[in-house]
């Protein structure tokens, strides 16, 4: 029989709640307040009701930015998750090489976002960058500042370079925790490499993999710095992702109302997806009997 849930423990997290109130809740409330008003600066606001929400829901600019954002997140998840698992499966299990691999894999994760952007911005330049120069020497027309596909490929490859190791490290940790007995049993049953992966490794790393997917989704869905540094959202606005467009709208054009209305919808989408992931994750855990 299930034990009744004791909700009193929530009081123990009051200090954290206070911190979050100042760093997240109060700013979020302010955003909600902005979203129903218009301002022309000097802290004077005029009530407009749900007008901004209506305008944003009908705004092609925002739907396009959302479309680009979803496309970006879907592409990088589709690359980083399988690639991360593949790398983790092929990493040495113990000894010197395992440690070396771990250190090398962690390196990209230690680099700040804007530095990653700058590295790739220079790396991809046709005149001085190793990648851009090599590609153009090979006769490939590559110019991420002018070509739509080149810009997208650069931003995606950059993200894959930066974050695949996170997925790989998490998957590796999951793989390391599988007891040897499972593999021995598989050997006795003469299971193929594929069935070992499908029936032993994949189910066992599902928990950490879910965390990896959730982290990568949230991070990529709010990506700002790297594409901003590399392409500045261009060419045109082909790599103007949601947060870039929102910052442009809120701070560049000082349209606080519409930007607030859209960021609330942005927030709701993230909340929904995160909740679904969280629910799936905890249910997987329960099924596994943790």
């Amino acid at each position: 029989m299930n034990k009744a849930v004791n909700q009193k423990a929530w009081f123990l997290i009051l200090p954290v709640l206070l911190l979050v109130a100042f760093s997240a809740v109060i700013p979020l409330m302010t955003v909600v307040n902005y979203s129903v008003q218009d301002t022309f600066g000097s802290n004077k606001f005029f009530w407009v009701g749900l007008e901004w929400f209506e305008e944003m829901l009908a705004s092609e600019r925002m739907w396009n930015a959302l479309g680009r954002q979803i496309t970006f997140s879907a592409i990088i998840l589709a690359i980083e998750i399988p690639l991360g698992i593949f790398v983790a499966l092929n990493m040495p299990k113990k000894g010197f090489w395992a440690s070396l691999c771990l250190v090398l894999m962690s390196l990209p994760l230690l680099i700040p976002w804007n530095v990653v952007g700058t590295i790739w911005q220079i790396f991809g330049r046709v005149d001085i960058g190793l990648l851009g120069y090599t590609l153009s020497a090979l006769g490939i027309d590559y110019n991420y500042t002018q070509d739509f596909y080149a810009a997208w490929i650069t931003v995606i490859v950059m993200d894959v370079w930066h974050w695949t190791s996170l997925v790989a490290l998490l998957a590796y940790a999951g793989l390391q925790s599988i007891p040897d007995a499972y593999y021995q049993a598989a050997k006795i049953d003469q299971a193929s490499r594929l069935s070992v992966f499908r029936f032993i490794e994949l189910p066992k790393i599902m928990g950490v993999l879910m965390i990896a997917i959730l982290l990568r989704f949230m991070d990529s869905f709010m990506i700002y710095t790297e594409p901003f540094v590399v392409t500045g959202g261009g060419p045109g606005n082909s790599t103007t992702f949601l947060s870039i467009d929102l910052v442009k709208m809120a701070l560049g054009q000082f349209d606080l109302g519409p930007a607030a209305a859209f960021s609330i919808m942005y927030y709701l989408v993230i909340l929904l997806v995160s909740y679904v992931f969280y629910t799936v994750m905890t249910n997987l855990d329960k099924r596994d009997g943790h």
Binding site: V5, W10, M29, N33, F45, F53
Partner: protein, 90 residues
């Protein structure tokens, strides 16, 4: 608090949410419950069902606003039925 640009309606909105949260906290302390599994196949407590209700209601309101030109209180009526359904079956 000037910088937060408060308005009457948003204050009422947050007030209602805060009151709901406090009510559910008190309920959870006074009447502890065991989670149950509903139509979604997930274990939920009253708090989970409240969260699903609030998040779903936000999307119902947005969909209503984006797709219909009818007055917004219509969406609130749908939300009410949605809330009843969530608390009954989820």
């Amino acid at each position: 608090m000037d910088w937060m640009a408060w308005t009457g309606p948003t204050a009422v909105f947050f007030g209602i949410i805060a009151a709901t949260l406090i009510t559910f906290t008190v309920l959870a302390i006074k009447f502890p419950e065991t989670p149950r599994t509903g139509v979604l196949g997930i274990e939920t407590t009253r708090g989970d069902r409240l969260f699903i209700t609030l998040l779903g209601s936000a999307f119902i309101n947005l969909a209503w606003l984006g797709m219909l030109s009818a007055p917004q209180w219509g969406a609130l009526i749908i939300c009410l039925f949605y809330a009843i359904a969530v608390f009954r079956w989820v």
